[in-house]
Symmetry: C2
Subunit: 248 residues, 2 copies
């Protein structure tokens, strides 16, 4: 019996990975922020969060460090953590950055084009069209996110993928509340993008993606003008709010 041989089903990947509390806290808090249950600007008191999530302050603090470095919360030394409140200018800047990164993704995807990937893209595109046809907003948003992610995956650039994922999550945080989609037109653009990727035409792919994200940005700006501040009732973490944010 070959004892040092790796067992047959090595493919079963690390199932017993100990998921640290800080990670779960991080996830939980990010969701609370994205869903607006923790409102922008709100002061996050460590002990309250700890009590709420049933852990000590230590994992809370570590999660806050992460959330801070990714732009979800602001850490003001001596004053604590506050849910980041993006300014209009910042949102716009982020959308510009996203446009650039997504355009690069498209460019690389076109250079790395492969049949299997294109097939996945087409399938997602069809799903999106179907969602539009049946007026399924959630389906549209999901298909859109997946399609964009798929393009970035096809770029075969892990660094880019990580960065785009992060940026996209933030964009969706800003953008979601008014995310009634542009519908059919958007998916036509996607189709053209996929054509360019399939043809291996890097410049066309990059240009198409840039125009696409640029239109999304314009659509955001318009909707923002009509519907300035969506606002959702935040959860009161424990009691009344104390401690005001210090002058910035």
């Amino acid at each position: 019996m070959p004892s040092t041989e790796l067992p047959q089903q090595m493919s079963a990947r690390r199932i017993d990975r100990p998921v640290p509390l800080r990670e779960r806290v991080y996830q939980a808090m990010q969701e609370l922020i994205i869903s607006r249950q923790l409102a922008p600007g709100q002061h996050l008191v460590e002990s309250e969060l700890a009590e709420m999530l049933g852990v000590s302050r230590q994992p809370i603090r570590e999660a806050l460090q992460l959330l801070n470095s990714e732009g979800w919360v602001d850490l003001r030394p001596g004053y604590g953590a506050f849910v980041h409140a993006p300014t209009e200018a910042e949102v716009d800047q982020l959308l510009v950055v996203r446009a650039a990164l997504e355009a690069e993704s498209a460019r690389l995807a076109a250079l790395n084009t492969d049949a299997e990937g294109v097939a996945r893209l087409r399938k997602l595109c069809a799903q999106g069209e179907a969602a539009v046809a049946s007026d399924d907003i959630d389906g549209m948003v999901a298909a859109n996110a997946e399609l964009h992610r798929c393009v970035t995956e096809l770029s075969a650039n892990q660094v880019l993928l990580d960065m785009v994922s992060q940026v996209d999550r933030r964009v969706r945080w800003y953008y979601t509340p008014i995310a009634r989609h542009r519908g059919h037109q958007s998916w036509q653009e996607h189709a053209r993008l996929i054509d360019a990727i399939e043809a291996g035409d890097a410049d066309a792919a990059a240009r198409t993606m840039r125009e696409h994200t640029e239109r999304t940005r314009q659509s955001y700006l318009e909707q923002r003008r009509e519907n300035p501040e969506p606002e959702v009732a935040p959860v009161q973490v424990r009691s009344r709010r104390r401690r005001t944010a210090p002058g910035v």
Copy 2:
């Protein structure tokens, strides 16, 4: 006497800002990593670092969180922190991302062109040329970094600036040990870039910057082929190394 009026010299900015230990630890460790005193792959033992820097494990852990999220160290749950060891592929991917971000910076800078900024660029360009003429490597590197930073500042996009700064620091970490510069040619490209920005020609600026960073990338790849692994003697943090990195 107008008591509630802000005092005359309000411009004296927050001098008493309490710089948290974690920030200083973060800085210190980043420098140790960049200077290769902490070698890629090395296991970072919290208690050793704590002793070395004269603080408790808490600020160390918080700094490690930050360093992890920015790609300087890898945190393996249950195994601790290890200095990130970039693969060749990853370096290349990062250079690609940098090229895209810098090109976008140039594009925006051209759109926002202003005389004062262009003057600053020209001055830095002259400094770079002077450094080349006098064979001053450090001067060249410094002028180069400052010029690129200045371009990104001119883009008037804070989000982009933050992201590029981070990426650039990492690129420099990977790149520095073999950073004999391309000399005169590089600064000619800079000059053409500035011309494009001054003229407000966004496409030309983006294209020039992309070609420039692309050449830098090629130069990196070449040098890497000649001089595969530079290696610097790492500091032993306390005693002999223990704990091997777990299988990835």
